[in-house]
């Protein structure tokens, strides 16, 4: 472990002078070195968005399947639950022999982790659709597919969006670890100098910022897509 600490001290750019030596929060240093965070940041964004997009697509497909055949819901929940329980770091290394270091391993692990959250929220969303709306819809002559797409999915939207927000924020958090699998990201920048406060602040701060921004974006999307929730008597 000692070698690691020495290696970090050497890697730190000494240009900040006293502030850096004292391990403080140095605006000058941050300003000077900010661009070295850009690449990791965009890697982080890419990995998060791609993983959540794939996870969402798979969860959506599974949800449609479980909607048609109710008996599939518990087994799917079990399997995705196990994937959720496995520590991501362990998953990275279990995948290594198969997929090697790099983005693929990272994305597979991140997707697996978000599946449970997304699938479970799809199911919860479907459960929340009022029975009488479904009965009235069927009675009026909506076919299974029309009912699903015109009534059930729109009404399940709030719950689905809630799941999406959780999935996105947790994935941002997890992506901070993918550097262990060789996929870069803000975690790499963080770990590069884990004792230097300014570094931790910037790298960590950017990650939190990213999570918050994405969370708010999805919230805005939800607000835009559900006008009936805004209109209350």
């Amino acid at each position: 472990m000692i070698e690691l600490v020495f290696a970090q001290l050497q890697r730190r750019d000494r240009s900040g002078g006293d502030c850096v030596a004292d391990n403080g929060i140095c605006p000058d240093w941050i300003a000077d070195n900010f661009d070295r965070y850009l690449d990791p940041f965009w890697q982080h964004v890419y990995l998060t968005l791609v993983s959540v997009a794939i996870g969402f697509a798979i969860a959506f497909a599974l949800a449609l399947l479980a909607h048609r055949r109710r008996w599939l819901a518990p087994p799917i929940t079990q399997v995705t639950g196990i994937l959720y329980t496995l520590p991501s770091v362990a998953v990275f290394f279990l995948l290594l022999p198969l997929t090697g270091r790099g983005n693929t391993t990272a994305i597979i692990a991140l997707v697996a982790y978000s599946l449970l959250i997304l699938f479970r929220n799809f199911m919860a969303g479907f459960d929340n659709v009022p029975d009488e709306s479904k009965d009235a819809g069927r009675g009026m002559g909506l076919s299974y597919r029309q009912l699903l797409w015109q009534v059930e999915l729109p009404l399940a939207l709030p719950e689905i969006m809630a799941g999406l927000r959780i999935a996105v924020t947790t994935t941002v958090g997890l992506t901070a670890l993918v550097f262990l699998a060789g996929a870069g990201g803000l975690g790499e920048a963080l770990f590069a100098d884990i004792n230097f406060r300014s570094n931790v602040l910037v790298a960590g701060g950017l990650a939190v910022l990213l999570a918050v921004v994405l969370d708010l974006l999805i919230l805005a999307l939800q607000w835009a897509l559900t006008p009936w929730m805004r209109a209350r008597a």
């Binding site: 009235a136 009675g139 009026m140 909506l142 009936w228 209109a231 008597a233």
Partner: protein, 388 residues
């Protein structure tokens, strides 16, 4: 004496659009149940009439109704709409041509009122202009302002939502409508209003309706024909309300209709159906001898003072007729003033509430046309209706 049920007596017949409905030994049997839910139900509903299915919980009335649009599959037997079997038709297509109103209404929360109403027209492929016009027409029909169309169900009151539910079912002008306790979830005051509004609507539209309720009073009020069902899905009796009240087919029906069925019959008639007593009308300043003669000939012991328009001002005391001319000395005011269109049951209620034996009856312009008395009402209860 004719029955007061508006569906039969008022409005132009729209039965061209309405279709007849027939249950032909329709049966529903669930797996593992020893008794069928609906047992060989057979009845015919003529086009343009309301058939009420009534009975205690578990008697199969809702099941029977839901068999018409195949929300529940028919085990054996058949149901014919307009002569065509429902089993032969495609499910979704059948349902688009049958109006469907349920107790909890089931409006789509995520769609505006206008969009809700436009659901079936859209499914049937109506063009936008026709649909929009129809939505406006229906909003007007149910008494809601046009701008309500842009609101969401959450912004409406319960009664308003109920009306929208009915409008939604009427949107594609279906020949048959199914209504499952549509007013059940409303408070009694609004329920009565909605029932009356609906009957007015039906007088105009004359749809063929299957109406399910557990409330015998509602059945009597709403139905042209009533089908009383017993547990096990049996049809106990199928008859117009008057006959049901006069001649219950078996002890179950008798019990279900209630011990006060004689009184219930008063709900079926209006004041105009009764042969009213002649009112001894006098105006202030009339010659008293004439007034006294009129009074002697009348069944009522008091003379009724009216104004120039023959509107009732009050009952006259004996002293008022004593002199040369009739003076305006009232012994009591004319309340309760009953209208020709009032339901007998309500008129009886009014008379009793005012603790009087008689009340003047007026027409639409407020002119006195006769006198209604408790005596006349008890005759109405006891008499057989013409035609049964």
């Amino acid at each position: 004496m004719t029955t007061a049920n508006s569906a039969q007596t008022e409005g132009p017949s729209a039965s061209l659009q309405a279709a007849s409905l027939e249950f032909r030994q329709a049966t529903k049997r669930y797996d593992g149940a020893d008794r069928p839910a609906v047992n060989e139900l057979s009845l015919e509903v003529p086009a343009g009439e309301i058939c009420v299915l009534v009975g205690p919980s578990g008697c199969g009335k809702t099941t029977a109704m839901r068999m018409v649009n195949r929300m529940i599959d028919i085990t054996s037997g058949d149901i014919l709409v307009g002569g065509e079997s429902v089993r032969d038709r495609d499910e979704a297509d059948l349902r688009r041509h049958v109006g469907y109103v349920i107790q909890q209404i089931g409006l789509f929360p995520h769609r505006t009122i206008a969009e809700n109403i436009a659901t079936v027209p859209k499914l049937l492929g109506w063009d936008k202009r026709r649909t929009a016009a129809r939505v406006d027409e229906l909003l007007d029909l149910i008494g809601l302002p046009a701008e309500m169309g842009g609101r969401y169900p959450a912004q409406l009151s319960g009664g308003q939502r109920q009306r929208v539910g009915v409008a939604r079912a009427l949107a594609a002008d279906p020949p048959v409508m199914l209504m499952d306790e549509p007013f059940g979830a409303i408070d009694p005051i609004n329920r009565e209003r909605l029932q009356n509004e609906f009957l007015r609507l039906q007088a105009e539209l004359r749809k063929t309706i299957v109406f399910v309720t557990h409330d015998i009073d509602e059945a009597i009020k709403m139905g042209d024909r009533i089908a009383v069902m017993q547990e096990g899905g049996h049809l106990a009796q199928y008859a117009p309300p008057a006959e049901l009240l006069m001649h219950p087919a078996n002890p179950f029906v008798e019990d279900f209709v209630g011990a006060d069925r004689a009184l219930k019959r008063l709900a079926l008639q209006r004041v105009r159906d009764v042969d009213l007593w002649t009112a001894p009308l006098v105006h202030a300043g009339d010659p008293a001898p004439e007034a006294r003669a009129k009074l002697a000939a009348a069944e009522v012991p008091y003379a009724l003072l009216v104004d120039d328009g023959d509107r009732p001002l009050g009952w006259l005391s004996e002293r008022a007729l004593a002199g040369e001319q009739v003076s305006a000395e009232l012994s009591s005011d004319p309340e309760p003033v009953v209208e020709l269109d009032d339901i007998l049951r309500d008129a009886l209620s009014d008379l009793l509430a005012h603790e009087v034996q008689y009340g003047p009856v007026v027409d639409h312009q407020g002119r006195v046309v006769g006198v209604l008395s408790i005596e006349l009402l008890s005759h109405a209860i006891a008499e057989e209706p013409e035609g049964g």
